[in-house]
Symmetry: C2
């Protein structure tokens, strides 16, 4: 049975209108599904309102104790519960989860760098998630994990999506879709319609050599191919408003 | 099988030290269990930090749109997820829930008064909660519900505890314990050790007539007896630090 795992980022979550459109499309997807969300700038906005400074290293957020409180409130509370309530209104039996809930995602605090309370994933309990999904529940996963010793940790939402997808690959035929600001991986970054419909592992090699795939897209595609190597059937990179459409975006598979 | 439902209020939740002691005792309770928590002054503190005014009518908080955001963050995020992570560290497979999650508690927005986004409970899905509990999961319920149309609503934690207990009464022998600032219902409100060990419906009648039970204790005991009438085996009113102890507090039963 196919399981659709959709990851939406901060840009969609920040604007209620965009989020509601996405949730319309998500709720129309047939069969079992799971949503992973980020929180984006909503956390920065709340931190500012609270007079908490946002510390950055190389453009990335440092999660000190204050910021951990903020992201726990924003990702685990505000964003997650809003999505859950909106999905319930669309007839989807949503259940909001952080990695601590049902112990679904264990992580350890990152040692390298001074990132603060950032967690790198150790394991995701696909069995528990599959049990919930088979009961007709749609998990909605916030980008928070825990270390098993009572410590919540901030974890990248893309990573959560990949780890969740991999852990469920033995239970379902998983399609993992990353909603993205572009329509897919572009052959020409100045032409929004130059979407590459399909990328295999061999294609990726070539596209990278040719410089067509570069910068931030390289780790994204590496992650996608790693997910495929771990049993995920296919990874789709598409724009949020194209979610419901057939053959939209770039499909990544091993072969 | 006995199911222990424990309700803890804001006073316990506000101080990490008190909360951790409570969670130690809670985790030692044998058999299936469920925790309902309030949030208390933590919401007011955050609102103040955010520059949001707290409006009160007759000493009770009005939940306007801004305050709903705050309680969603504090109750649904910060408090709920901290408890879940701390219970996981104690070997309890906790799952944080609002009423929107798995559609467990539906409510409607209160029409009387100008309370804002306050929900009065319509129904609690005991079947769903029982299914989770039978899987070895310990639900941790935040005082938030939803109206089924996408609207989250702020709901009194005592009410949540009673409704959850009643909905589970056909599935388990439910003991509902309210943790309270006193050791129980006192015969003499100036003597902390004058706890009345047991109150039946008939006792309550008499105690109220005699003026021994008065003020805020009257609705508390009425709620307790109503829960018993709806099938809850017994209601216990005790101090949080006495939770693990046999024969502590006041036991309320019909007869």
């Amino acid at each position: 049975m196919t399981l659709n795992i959709i990851k939406v980022g901060g840009g969609i979550v920040e604007k209620e209108e965009n989020l509601n459109l996405l949730l319309n499309d998500f709720s129309l997807l047939q069969g079992p599904k799971l949503l992973v969300h980020g929180g984006g700038r909503l956390a920065t906005t709340l931190a500012t309102q609270m007079g908490i400074e946002t510390h950055m290293i190389g453009g990335r957020r440092v999660t000190d104790a204050d910021m951990l409180r903020v992201v726990t409130m924003v990702y685990g509370g505000l964003v997650n519960k809003r999505i859950v309530a909106q999905l319930q209104a669309r007839g989807i039996n949503a259940l909001g989860l952080t990695g601590a809930d049902c112990n679904v995602i264990r992580s350890h605090r990152r040692q390298e760098g001074n990132w603060g309370f950032v967690g790198d994933v150790d394991r995701c309990d696909g069995e528990m998630l599959a049990t919930l999904i088979r009961q007709g529940i749609t998990p909605v996963v916030a980008p928070l994990t825990h270390d098993g010793n009572g410590q919540l940790l901030n974890t990248n939402a893309d990573t959560i999506a990949s780890e969740v997808a991999k852990s469920l690959a033995t239970h379902f035929d998983v399609t993992l879709t990353f909603c993205f600001e572009k329509k897919g991986v572009l052959r020409d970054c100045n032409d929004d319609d130059s979407v590459i419909a399909h990328i295999s592992a061999a294609d990726f090699c070539l596209l990278r050599e040719q410089g067509i795939v570069a910068d931030g897209m390289v780790p994204k595609l590496e992650n996608a191919l790693n997910a495929c190597r771990a049993g995920v059937k296919r990874v789709v990179i598409t724009r949020a408003d194209q979610l419901g459409q057939q053959d939209s975006g770039t499909v990544v598979t091993l072969e």
